[in-house]
């Protein structure tokens, strides 16, 4: 009996693994233990027991349900006390990713309320949108070297923030009692005060990068920038937006820039189309802001501010975004001419809510981008403007 059960659990775990679930032997053991603790006659109980053991994030629940239904049918759980081993034929041709993966409509339904890094690629799309993939040239060795060099130079206008942790420091302002006591014991009673100071670290960084048609000429370079910055620091989240919002943090996390960019170009499907800044920011605010802006994140928006929707709803969403983050930086590569005036409705809607506006005349290389973010004198807006001007 246990043997059959174990076989079934392993079979199911393998099925899930093929569907992309990171399931190790530990989870399989837990699942087996869980099933031994419950009444196998109740389909719901079996479902939730396996769910508790094998799912570790809400976004996978939809896929899990689909896989479970198949598994339940395949192993005819209706007669639970005599779980048959999966038929020989089934064992020979175990479920492939294709057979387990959910149909487009199913995924669409699942992902509508819960997009995650893994499901955003299948977010609903309308025929009206211009969807296209992007094919980036591979990064040359010189480019890689330059990228590394530039990132070393990059100083974002984001000061490190003090954390609530302390570390030892001879010039710190606080007494480290624990270290003092240890030293005192070692030194035989001589009190030698040890000091500590607050540790500081970079705040999380969230990048929202425009990939619409008007930004297309910068796309490759911007993605290289995003790739390096994602791999250079911890706590970076990367989103792309055009007519929709795509979280590409996981795709970007791959070390090899060419692999990462290939994945990113597959993940986002609105390359070089229109821009709906207001709507994509609304999506970000509603679905992601609480998840990624939690610990005082700095938001970097890279966009030319040209909005297909004419700035509709944009100022409201910008205000919400500014209120939810530590600092909102806008890098605008539109300024190809000296006599720039913010005429576009989108730009006028966004400007009042930006803490730090970085207009750039031309970003043709990583170097110019890094310079724009760091060293160039910026048009720093005085303080936070919480009310629209």
């Amino acid at each position: 009996m246990t043997g059959t059960l174990a076989f079934n659990v392993m079979y199911f775990a393998r099925m899930l693994r093929r569907a992309g679930f990171p399931i190790g032997p530990g989870q399989t053991m837990t699942a087996l233990a869980a099933l031994q603790a419950i009444d196998l006659g109740q389909k719901d109980d079996v479902y939730w027991a396996l769910h508790a053991a094998l799912v570790d994030r809400h976004a996978r629940s939809g896929m899990f349900r689909f896989a479970f239904e198949r598994f339940w049918r395949a192993t005819s759980f209706e007669a639970p006390m005599a779980w048959p081993a999966p038929a020989r034929a089934a064992a020979d041709s175990p479920p492939t990713l294709e057979s387990v993966s959910v149909s487009e409509q199913d995924r669409e339904r699942e992902s509508r309320d819960e997009p995650d890094a893994e499901t955003t690629e299948t977010l609903s799309w309308s025929a009206a949108e211009r969807l296209r993939a992007m094919d980036f040239e591979a990064m040359s060795a010189e480019e890689r070297a330059e990228a590394r060099r530039m990132m070393a130079l990059l100083r974002l206008p984001i000061p490190a923030v003090p954390t609530r942790r302390f570390h030892g420091s001879p010039s710190g302002s606080r007494i480290d009692m624990r270290a003092t006591l240890r030293k005192m014991v070692r030194a035989g009673g001589v009190i030698d005060l040890q000091r500590r100071r607050r540790a500081s670290r970079h705040p999380p960084l969230v990048v929202l990068c425009d990939i619409s048609g008007s930004m297309a000429s910068y796309a490759r370079m911007l993605l290289h920038f995003l790739h390096v910055i994602t791999n250079d620091r911890d706590r970076v989240h990367t989103f792309l937006f055009g007519t929709r919002l795509t979280n590409v943090t996981r795709e970007m996390a791959h070390r090899d820039p060419d692999v990462a960019l290939a994945r990113v170009s597959r993940a986002a499907r609105d390359w070089s189309g229109g821009t709906r800044i207001g709507q994509t920011l609304a999506t970000f605010n509603r679905l992601w802001s609480r998840r990624v802006l939690g610990q005082g994140a700095v938001v970097l928006v890279i966009s030319d501010g040209l909005d297909r929707d004419g700035g509709e709803g944009l100022s409201q969403e910008m205000e919400r975004l500014q209120h939810s983050c530590r600092r909102l930086i806008w890098l605008n590569p539109l300024l190809r001419y000296e006599a720039f005036e913010p005429k576009s409705a989108g730009i006028r809607a966004m400007l009042p809510y930006v803490d730090d506006f970085r207009p750039v005349h031309n970003i043709d290389s990583l170097a110019s981008l890094v310079a724009a973010l760091g060293d160039l004198p910026s048009e720093r807006l005085a303080g936070r403007q919480h009310k629209a001007a």
Binding site: T30, G188, R320
Partner: protein
Amino acid sequence: MTALPANIDATVELLRQGGYVADRALATPLYLALALQRPLFLEGEAGVGKTEIAKVLAATLGRDLVRLQCYEGLDIAAAVYEWNYPRQMMAIRLAEAAGRGQDQSIVKDIYGADFLIKRPLLAALEPHAKGAPILLIDEIDRTDEPFEAFLLEVLSDYQISIPELGTVHAATPPIVILTSNRTREIHDALKRRCLYHWLDYPNAERERAILAARLPKVGERLTAQVVAFVQALRAMELFKPPGIAESLDWAQALLVLDAGEIDRGIVDATLGVLLKYQDDIARVRGEIATRGVAPFLSGPVEPAVAAQ
């Protein structure tokens, strides 16, 4: 001390005794957490009753509740243990006064259990008179990664190493419940040690049952109206939809205000109990001003003022 529930039905019943209406989807992982002695990782939006489960469990099982509220920068000194430095200093001075200043045995003395201040995690591993306690690690997403990494040892082996003292091992492991509002993703390594459950907003039927269990005075009709209204709000794609905590607060508020039913005036006056963002309040007020409260009480509302 009550015995642990023997099956899923008993778990549902146990929670019901504590005034917590749970469905089988929640009771199953909870029962397994108790049976397999594994931590339960509860994730969900704010106000869906994650923390409440631990409290109810402690009350109904008659165990102690040890709560660790997490925050950014939570460190060992605040979460696990700290040495009582003033006492240590005093002990050293006393020893010196007694002429034992150079005596190395003093070192062993001042790093003894008497000088240890136990914080929640250590306290949870100690033997408790009423049986292994419920350890609630609340809002784990607020801590940082180093603390998460530290928790790995605690949650897999139920032991804590104190360099000066040795390893403290729990004879009976505590019942561990971790909660997260998902303000960031928790590392897979930590999740892998836990049973996972996503706690969703309840459906109308369960929410009515929760209100009836918690606030029986509200009455069936008003309860139904409250639930219908709140469920309609949740369908509206607000920035922060109301949770169960908010429904309970609102029902309580209506009770205090002696409101017999939900009308436009009472909604207008008490909307701040349900919604905590001005944009959301303004939007709902706008809807009600144009169409009244009736559509909110008759199922999910298709927004007239489109979100797009």
